[in-house]
Every structure is written in structure tokens, then in C-alpha cells.
């Protein structure tokens, strides 16, 4: 239970960093922390203490294998989700570099030509 609690703290820290920090690079770091917290959560969903890798070798009991092995599906999902997170991060970095060229600052509170 403790690990889920710590995981949610990680998520909230990322969200706080994304919303409250003014610096663009800090915002990107917050975004990445938030995504990784979700990825960690998905991995924890399939985790079993003392579990074995989900590979069915010859000579293994099927029912025992199902009981012992960890759930492989979340691990697959996390791979996809990491790739998506990476592409989001790459786009964010590219846009923040262009923003720096235009405004000569990374401070989001000074980047306010739009008023929405």
C-alpha cells in the first residue's frame, strides 16, 4: 500500500511542478515526472512480490505459472506509453527552444502576448 501512496506523491509533485513553476524547462521536467509516475503505476498493477518473468518454459505447470508470473500486459503498455511520452517531450523541448529565440527568456510569466 505504501508504494502506491509514494507513487501518488510522485504524480502530484509532477503536476505541481508543471502548474506552479514559471520556467519552461522546469515545466517540461514536471511533465516527465508526471508521465513516469503513471508509467510506474501501470507497472505496479501487474507486479507480484516474488513473481517470476512471464515466460512459459517447457516443463512448467500451467496453473502454477499463472499464479506465480507477473502480468505481462502492463509492461507492454508502458513501453508504448514511454515512446509517446518521449515524443511529447521532444515536441515540448523544440517549442520551448523556439520560444526562447522569439522572446529571449524561458520565464513563462514574461511570455504573455496572448491574453486568454
Amino acid at each position: 500500500m505504501l508504494i502506491y501512496f509514494l507513487n501518488s506523491i510522485l504524480f502530484v509533485m509532477g503536476l505541481y511542478c508543471l502548474i506552479a513553476k514559471k520556467h519552461l524547462v522546469k515545466k517540461i521536467i514536471g511533465m516527465v515526472i508526471m508521465e513516469y509516475a503513471i508509467n510506474l503505476f501501470i507497472i505496479l498493477l501487474g507486479y507480484k512480490k516474488g513473481g517470476i518473468p512471464p515466460i512459459l518454459l517447457p516443463g512448467m505447470e500451467k496453473s502454477q505459472f499463472v499464479q506465480q508470473s507477473v502480468d505481462p500486459l502492463p509492461q507492454v503498455l508502458v513501453l508504448t506509453s514511454i515512446v509517446i511520452g518521449l515524443s511529447v517531450m521532444a515536441l515540448m523541448v523544440a517549442i520551448s527552444l523556439r520560444l526562447y529565440e522569439k522572446y529571449k527568456t524561458f520565464d513563462m510569466s514574461e511570455i504573455r502576448r496572448l491574453h486568454g
Partner: protein, 490 residues
């Protein structure tokens, strides 16, 4: 025919990357390739029109293990909307995008966005939904920043932060759903949840999805990115974002997941109606004072999506029908209005209403289309917007929500006022001196706008001919969600 279903996603996705390779050798062909794909997709969606619901197992892996694509009446409605609007927008984009450099990259991102939308609409698997949602969102973040001016980059960054938060929250919801049911297939999940799932967890998932898809569809507490992001993009992309993305990624997912998969509960209906009502009122009040044409239209998008949300959240058969009908109509007239704003900008170089005037004489085709769209959105009788608003108001009164019904009428009136302002300052009045020698926009742009203007007139008057097949079948699926289990799984 059933084996052709994945082509909806594969054709634009493949062409998005092929396009970049081909344009290395033959320059200037990317627009024609895009046009060919879009026409092919329209042909394909017309071929599929009226098919019985079925599922397609990707790669031969049967559900619930494999990923499925599902064709049913709700996805049929959205596929038709997407394919028709993309055709008109692409026709408009061919001459319009000549002003920009790096056109092949534009068309690649555009095709990626289309592929993502078709994927979200057709998929029958939760994680696949998330992946396609991210494909469409990422393409749209990049397209908002396509002009790489200071304001566009700022709007795109804002959109990226909020869009990223919403995607993360949606992924958390999907992970929790997986932990509750042990499956990712939508039909399988609906079957398991129908036998009674963990109540508290389901409520938490509802809350996460309301936040996630509310951000994607710009409901009022989550709307801050929309008025910046939609006007900053090039005009064809504004039309796509306002006309399609917020519907395919927002409202459609709410309709599919809340009504068909999870099963709607009364408190969630109330939340949806409150969000919709707030969006209607606040959106229109923010819109009235705007002088930037595209920004005004963006605020009206928030307001009109509120109508759709109220209609769907009412969850009576008539209310859902009104909501879906308004979704269809809003896709048509809002895309048309954004295209008109693009045409004005193309000819005059500005979109500030105060600097325009008297364009009706110089640009008769654009002006007439703009008038038709403005009359549609403000609900003047023979046009399509009137009928869907009427259905929503009647449904509200039947369900005895008199206050909300009165608010709906009032918002419609405010919409009329703000579009009278648009007409007065842009189309009528005196022509400023510097615009004496402007011309009508190129013929392809006019064609795109005229198609949508004809749809604005036709959708209202021809309802008896297509309503049963397109809208009422989708409504029936949302009212009786257990049908979904019969055809989405073996």
C-alpha cells in the same frame, strides 16, 4: 468489404510518411497526394455507409485478446462527418497553404491528424484509443505552432501542457479500468462492468475521464487553451480543430465510454449538464466582446459544444438526438466560418473586424457562405442550426428543465447578436480604401466553402431523408448500449 476497415487508419497514416519520401524526389506533389487520400477516404466511408455493425480483429487475433476495430452506427456518424469536412478543408488548403513554406511537412502532419481521428472513432480497444488520441493530439500541437511566430508558439505550448495533462489523466483512468476488469477490450469490459463492478472505483474513473475528455473538448473549467490555440493555427487547421478534433477526441469519447462502455449514472448526467450549461453561457459572453474574427469563433466553439454536452447529458432519447444533430451541424458551420475567416485573411491580410467592411461586394461567394454559416450558428429557421437547437430545447422542456431551457434560448439570442456584429463589420458597411482592388479567393477555396454552405442548407431541410439512417441509429445505440455487446465480440 469488412476487411477494408483498417484502411481508414492505414491509408492516411501510410501516406503521411510516404509523402515525405516522395517529396524528396518530386517536389510540390504532397498536396495532390493528400487530396487523393482524402477523396479515397470519402469514397470508402460512402461504401461503408449502411453496413451492419461488425468488428474486425487486427492481425487475426480474436478479441478479447487482440485489438479490434468496430464499425457501428455511432462511428458511422463520426466517420461521415470527418470524411466530408476533411474533403472541404483540403480543397480550401490547396491554394491557402501556398503562402507557407515546408508544405510537405504540413500535409504529413495533417494526414497524421486525420489518421488519429479515424483511429479514435473506429477502435474497440482502450489502450489503442489512447495511442490514436495521442497521435491526433501531437499532430495538432505541431500544427498549431506551424507558423512559428511568437504568438503561435506560445499558444502551442499552452495547448501542449494542458493536452499533456489530459492525456496523462486519461491514461491513469484506463490503467484503473484495466485493474478493475482485467481486460482492455471495450466490449469485454462493458460485459464485465454490466454484472456489477466496484462502485467507488468506477466513480473515480468517471471523474478522471470527465477531467481528461473535458480538457480535450474544452468544457468551461478546462477551456483556457482553446481561444489561444484555435485562432493561432493556419485557417484550414483551425477549421479542423474546431470542427473535428474537439468532437472526435472529446464528445465522441464521452459518448462512447460513458454511455456505451461504463453505463451512465444519474450524477454523471448532472455533471455533464452543468458543464455544458456553464460552457454555453460563459463561452458566449466571452465571445460577444471579441474583435478578432477567429478568436470570436473559438469562443463560440466553447459555447456550441456546451449545447452538445447538454443534449447528450440529458440522456433522454430526444436530448441525445439533439446533441448528436448539433454535433453534426456544428462541425459543418464552424468549419465553414473558420474557412471564411481564412478567406478574408487571404484577401485582405487582416482578421480584425474593425478593419474590415463591405466585403460582400468584392467577395460575393465567400460573403454568401459566411452569411449562411452565421445564420446557421445563430439558429435562424431554414438552416440546420435552428433544428438542432430546437430539438435540444424541446427535449429540455420535456424533461422539465425549464431554467436550462430558458438559458439555452438566451444563449442562442446572444449568439445571434454577436454574429450580427460580425456581418455588420465584415460583410456590409463601407469598404475601406485600401481594399478597393481585392479579388475573390481562388476557385478551389470557393469550392470548399460552397460545399459546406450547401450542407448547411441541406442538412436542415433534408433531415427526413437521412435522419433515420445516420442520426437516429446512432441515438438508438446510445440509448440501448447492450446492443454493443452483441456485435463487438464473438
Amino acid at each position: 468489404m469488412e476487411n477494408w476497415l483498417p484502411i481508414f487508419v492505414a491509408a492516411p497514416l501510410g501516406m503521411a510518411f510516404l509523402n515525405l519520401l516522395v517529396t524528396k524526389v518530386f517536389r510540390h506533389v504532397s498536396s495532390y497526394l493528400t487530396m487523393a487520400v482524402v477523396i479515397f477516404l470519402l469514397w470508402l466511408s460512402i461504401r461503408f455507409f449502411g453496413e451492419q455493425p461488425f468488428y474486425y480483429a487486427m492481425g487475426g487475433w480474436m478479441p478479447p485478446l487482440g485489438i479490434t476495430l468496430v464499425w457501428d452506427s455511432l462511428s458511422q456518424l463520426l466517420v461521415l462527418i470527418v470524411s466530408i469536412i476533411t474533403l472541404a478543408v483540403t480543397l480550401f488548403a490547396l491554394p491557402y497553404m501556398q503562402q507557407y513554406t515546408a508544405q510537405s511537412k504540413f500535409y504529413s502532419l495533417y494526414l497524421l491528424m486525420i489518421a488519429g481521428m479515424y483511429g479514435v472513432i473506429l477502435t474497440g480497444d482502450f489502450f489503442n484509443l489512447f495511442v490514436f488520441l495521442e497521435i491526433a493530439s501531437l499532430a495538432s500541437y505541431a500544427l498549431v505552432a506551424f507558423g512559428v511566430e511568437a504568438e503561435e508558439l506560445e499558444a502551442s505550448f499552452k495547448y501542449l501542457v494542458l493536452g499533456g495533462v489530459s492525456s496523462t489523466i486519461i491514461l491513469l483512468g484506463i490503467a484503473l479500468l484495466y485493474s478493475a476488469t482485467g481486460t482492455l477490450n471495450m466490449a469485454d469490459m462493458a460485459g464485465i462492468l454490466a454484472q456489477g463492478g466496484p462502485k467507488n472505483l468506477i466513480f473515480f474513473i468517471f471523474a478522471l475521464f470527465i477531467m481528461g475528455f473535458g480538457l480535450k473538448s474544452a468544457m468551461v473549467p478546462f477551456h483556457a487553451w482553446l481561444p489561444d490555440a484555435h485562432p493561432s493555427a493556419p485557417a484550414p487547421i483551425s477549421a479542423m480543430l474546431s470542427g473535428l478534433i474537439i468532437k472526435a477526441l472529446g464528445i465522441y469519447c464521452v459518448a462512447r465510454i460513458f454511455f456505451i462502455i461504463l453505463g451512465i449514472v444519474p450524477i454523471v448526467k448532472t455533471v455533464l449538464m452543468v458543464l455544458g450549461g456553464l460552457s454555453m453561457v460563459i463561452g458566449v459572453f466571452l465571445a460577444v466582446g471579441q474583435w478578432d474574427f477567429k478568436r470570436l469563433l473559438a469562443y463560440h466553439s466553447i459555447s456550441q459544444m456546451g449545447y452538445v454536452m447538454v443534449g447528450i447529458g440529458l440522456a433522454t432519447p430526444l436530448g441525445i438526438l439533439g446533441g448528436l444533430f448539433h454535433l453534426l451541424n456544428h462541425a459543418v458551420f464552424k468549419s465553414l466560418l473558420f474557412l471564411c475567416s481564412g478567406a478574408f485573411e487571404y484577401s485582405t491580410g487582416t482578421r480584425q473586424l474593425k478593419q474590415l467592411g463591405g466585403l460582400m461586394k468584392k467577395m460575393p461567394w465567400t460573403g454568401t457562405s459566411c452569411s449562411i454559416a452565421a445564420l446557421s450558428i445563430s439558429g435562424i429557421p431554414p438552416f440546420n442550426g435552428f433544428w438542432s437547437k430546437l430539438i435540444i430545447i424541446i427535449a429540455l422542456l420535456q424533461a422539465e428543465y425549464y431554467l436550462l431551457g430558458a438559458v439555452t434560448v438566451f444563449v442562442s439570442f446572444m449568439t445571434l447578436i454577436s454574429f450580427v456584429k460580425v456581418q455588420k463589420y465584415s460583410l456590409f458597411g463601407s469598404l475601406p480604401k485600401k481594399f478597393q482592388d481585392i479579388k475573390e479567393v481562388p476557385v478551389l477555396m470557393v469550392t470548399g466553402m460552397v460545399i459546406l454552405a450547401l450542407l448547411c442548407v441541406g442538412l436542415g431541410l433534408l433531415y427526413p431523408f437521412y435522419g433515420q439512417a445516420i442520426l437516429e441509429s446512432a441515438r438508438n445505440l446510445m440509448v440501448e448500449p447492450y446492443q454493443y455487446l452483441q456485435y463487438a465480440m464473438p
